[in-house]
């Protein structure tokens, strides 16, 4: 089954690009060594994929049942879209690239189910909103708890460091659970991979991306989240992890980056400052529309030439 190579490539790029959303703060500020974060991240991504990754795969199967060769094309076009967009420094979301390709192949093969797409798009819009709402609630709840502890300067620092480590692990788990469907979800049709095999291969390839290329991305993307202080960064990552985890339960792969943007906006609302500029909001909107559109047309072009 050589076709799985494109899924592994997609998983690798997903892992490389998304480590920053869960361990960016801790690693970019050098609180946690990259290798400690990478190993924790890879292990929890795999755990998330194996324990809770199957719901998202069921959604993709319901959206458009595809053949092995079509699954190969979906993963390849998504991976190419992500690589191209990353190279051009455009914002990109793996979930949205995969859905764009799936819509394209579904329409071309005449077995696309629009009602599933509606559910997915609603969840996309709900992702930054979820991140924002959870960030606001958590900011006050966790803050009240931490104020009650009366920690000194060093204790405060130490607890925060542990919190970032734990929430990074949870974020990685949610990432694996939610996003593994993007990698191998389309390969779970009849005569292809079993859901467990798909989760295992998907989880391993994301983990491989984290370990081999995560450092470079974490140092650039992570610094953007570092501008928050330790506590608010912790809240943003926790809000993102909870949001993404909930969507993993619902079975809709969503963008972790957009959950982070929502979380940062929530912090801005609580503190009465502008934390997200118009450019960032444009990037989210672009990812909703531009990314699926590009992968849609890329697959359309490839399919018509095959």
């Amino acid at each position: 089954m050589w076709q799985i190579v494109s899924a592994v490539f997609l998983g690798w790029s997903l892992g490389a690009n998304h480590t920053a959303n869960v361990f960016g703060t801790a690693v970019a500020s050098r609180m946690i060594r990259f290798w400690t974060a990478a190993i924790v991240c890879a292990v929890f991504v795999l755990l998330g994929a194996l324990l809770q990754g199957q719901a998202g795969m069921a959604t993709y199967r319901a959206m458009a049942g595809v053949s092995l060769n079509a699954a190969f094309l979906v993963a390849l076009c998504s991976a190419l879209t992500i690589t191209l967009m990353t190279y051009l420094k455009f914002p990109v979301s793996v979930s949205q690239a995969v859905v764009g390709s799936l819509v394209s192949i579904g329409l071309l093969e005449g077995n696309f189910h629009w009602e599933v797409l509606v559910k997915v798009v609603i969840c996309w819009v709900g992702t930054p909103l979820g991140g924002m709402i959870f960030a606001i609630i958590l900011y006050f709840l966790v803050g009240k708890f931490m104020n009650g502890l009366s920690l000194n300067l060093f204790q405060h620092d130490r607890y925060l460091r542990w919190c970032l480590m734990v929430v990074g692990g949870y974020g990685a788990y949610a990432l694996g659970a939610n996003n593994v469907a993007n990698v191998t979800g389309t390969f779970t049709g009849p005569g292809m991979l079993t859901p467990f095999q798909a989760c295992l291969i998907g989880g391993l390839s994301i983990g491989f991306g984290v370990l081999t290329y995560g450092k470079k991305v974490i140092m650039t993307v992570g610094k953007e989240i570092v501008r928050l202080d330790g506590y608010t960064a912790f809240i943003v990552i926790l809000a993102e992890a909870i949001t993404v985890h909930i969507y993993a339960g619902i079975g809709v792969p969503v963008s972790t980056s957009q959950a982070v943007v929502g979380g940062v906006m929530g912090i801005g609302l609580v503190k009465g400052v502008s934390t997200v500029n118009l450019k960032r909001l444009y990037q989210v909107f672009y990812a909703w529309v531009g990314t699926p559109a590009i992968s849609f047309f890329l697959l359309y072009l490839m399919f018509s030439r095959v």
Partner: protein, 215 residues
Amino acid sequence: MTIFSKKQIEVKQMIDTYLDKVDSCIRQFRDSMMRFLVNGCTREFIWDVEKAHKFESEADDLRRKIQMTLYGKALLPDSRGDLLTLLEFYDRIPSAAEDALFLTRILCLDIPDDLLEDLEKLVEINVEAYRLIRECMNTLFENPHETLYQTRGVDAKESESDRLERSIIERVFKSDMATGKMMLLKELVQTIGQISNRAENTADRISIVAIKRQI
């Protein structure tokens, strides 16, 4: 398992040693000034000034060492920045004490008898302002929220010092001493008063660090 990391324990120990060194410097400042006000510019006084300088420069070296350790990522960036700024402010207090002693030594002024008592009082008030800021530092490393009440004491001492400085300067300028001596005495009084001024600035920094940790 301890709640502090190895590097944090190292930083905390260095800070404690640094604070002890500053204590010694201020203690030496007080003893030296009292010796000067009683005996004048004696050889013992000059020797005392050297001792204070030695403590100040040792404290300075320690602060630089703490800086280097902190830049070696011992704390979260936010805590690191707060601590570095705070130590920078705190370090200006022994520098003020050293400046006052140095000025006293080079001027070797003959202090009029009617000013002696007030100058002694001025030294005591400024040393007291330091003692209060030292307590605030201890509390900051124990329970930051408590410092918000303590820093008010430093503010009160600074105001007391200010009032006494103005009163001494007024009396100096109303006296019949030479204008040059008046100017030098004014400078000496204001330099001593710098200790409580800088203690107050440090208190403000401590309050900011504490408030930032209130969510």
